[in-house]
Amino acid sequence: MLDVAVRHAFADFTLDAAFRAPPGVTVLFGRSGSGKTTLVNAVAGLLMPDGGRIKAGDWTLLDTEAGVRLKPHRRRLGYIFQEGRLFPHLTVRQNLAYGAWFAPKGAPREDPARVVELLGIGHLLGRRPGALSGGEKQRVAIGRALLSAPRLILADEPLAALDAARKAEILPYFERLRDEVEVPILYVSHSASEVARLASTVIALEAGRVVAQGPAVQVLGDAGAMGARGAASVLTARVVRHHADGLSELAAAAGPLWLPRVAAREGAVIRVRIAAHDVILSRTRPEGLSALNHLSGTVTAIRPGEGPGALVTLDVGGDRLAARITRRSAQAMGLATGQPCHAVIKSVSVAPEDVGHADQAAND
């Protein structure tokens, strides 16, 4: 359990954020300038806030009322920075070992060999950071944080400085971290697809305040929190079969889903992020459409947004599916809560970065 409440006044910005999150990956989501990094730095102790309380499990990092303000080096964190921040004068091996020098003897720690294997950095151990690519640096940075025997891992947009190909390379490592490492992770991102793939819990920040918090599936469908353009749903589905025509057949609670070939083996449970603006609604069962995915469900909410749009939420076999349509359409269709409705999703609208391995812990 991560319990954070922080207040800090800057000259032109006030951070006043509080949230609680269960174990797993907690993503701080928001636009740049919303206070995400400030909040993470407060957790790290790089910023001493005016007041607040930060606890990871029974480990108190900050409690201004009780006069507890741990120095950063006593907080037992693994902080993965946006720019890696590897020590240029040390080899990869020495960088990885750095945190372990200072960790208390007997602290529960990851096996270095396993971490090196998990991150695929065995061939880099003798090199110095100057000789690494951006993606390699970031993998080493992840390893360095992991091996410091942390009680909490912080990651501040660890993929932001990488191009799309490198992002696709690193993201699976965070999924494995989430699924294979016990340490809770606080992850800062402004990318909705990263949130959808990684988050167990989402904390949406805006202008230094928490505007939404809760399980990823719930917050992601919330247009208020994600911004109308970012609203999306996350469905969990099992890979049934990869077909020869390049499509993968998935089984979701609401029925079969057909997606461009996903990078997961048959039988694996994956998460699929479906942007709300890629969902088409129909009152009658659609026929003669090119789109392969038809899910039927019930309208649970219709929320008019600013401008011409409205966000319609459906219950499809127990999952939430959000659709962003115009208010004009909603009226013309006579949509109302409780009505049966069909959702249509084009297979090709789901990009590979929207598909990731499911967070087992959050779904059990």
Binding site: A44, G45, H73, R76, Y79, R85, H89, G99, F102, G130
Partner: protein, 232 residues
């Protein structure tokens, strides 16, 4: 050999080396500390300290020597205290020559180290702190290795300056053979002595060789260090 340089001149060379090394050794930790303070800390009196450190660079050396005499002379406030409390006298001793050399070279040391500290990304030091390193450990394991080239440069400059200091030394501790007659003071004396030009020239040549060797060694060490730190 004795024809080439007399024992008095060899004495001056040995003394110069001793003076320059002592001045360097003492001002090294102090210089790194002051450079770190000036580069990283904000404290009242920071500007005053900055001016004070640089004063020997801009004052006439004679004035610096005179101020040292006033302060560290046996009747000066610090000199008197050192004499009373510890029986230590720096006036007219080789230790005084080392003090003068150290003070004159201090701005060089501080500038070289400070520049290299300012080039160290504080974000790396933050990263070290989040990994569990206390401030002292961050300095030893991250800052110090990264500023090593600057420290080497500062050390060589200080040593070279210590070998060559003239004005403040002669004003503060006079020209005493075996105590304060370093190479430049010996050259100065030889030039005023009939028939001393040849020895003066040889001493001058020797000091050029010493200075050039120090520079060459530091270049070599710096390149090795830079190759390690740079990584690429």
């Amino acid at each position: 050999m004795t024809d080439w340089l007399g024992p008095a001149e060899w004495g001056a060379v040995a003394l110069s080396l001793r003076v320059a090394m002592s001045a360097t050794l003492v001002s090294l930790p102090l210089g790194v500390f002051v450079a770190y303070a000036l580069a990283r800390w904000r404290f009242p009196g920071r500007e005053v300290l900055n001016v004070l450190v640089h004063l020997p660079l801009i004052l006439p050396p004679v004035v610096t020597g005179y101020l040292l005499l006033l302060t560290f002379g046996t009747r000066g406030p610090v000199g008197g205290f050192l004499d009373d409390a510890f029986g230590v006298t720096v006036a007219f001793r080789w230790t005084g020559a080392a003090l003068a050399a150290g003070v004159m070279a201090f701005p060089f040391m501080v500038r070289a180290v400070r520049l290299s500290i300012e080039a160290v990304d504080p974000k790396l030091e933050q990263a070290a702190a989040t990994l569990g390193a206390s401030r002292a450990w961050v300095f030893v394991t991250v800052t110090l290795p990264l500023i090593l080239p600057g420290i080497i440069a500062g050390t060589v400059l200080t040593f070279a300056k210590g070998m060559g200091e003239f004005g403040a030394t002669i004003t503060f501790v006079s020209n005493i053979p075996g105590q304060t007659r370093t190479i430049p003071l010996a050259i100065d004396l030889l030039l005023e002595t009939p028939g001393g030009e040849a020895r003066a020239a040889r001493l001058a040549g020797l000091s050029i060789v010493l200075a050039a060797s120090a520079l060459a060694v530091s270049e070599w060490v710096s390149r090795r260090v830079a190759a390690r730190v740079g990584g690429a």
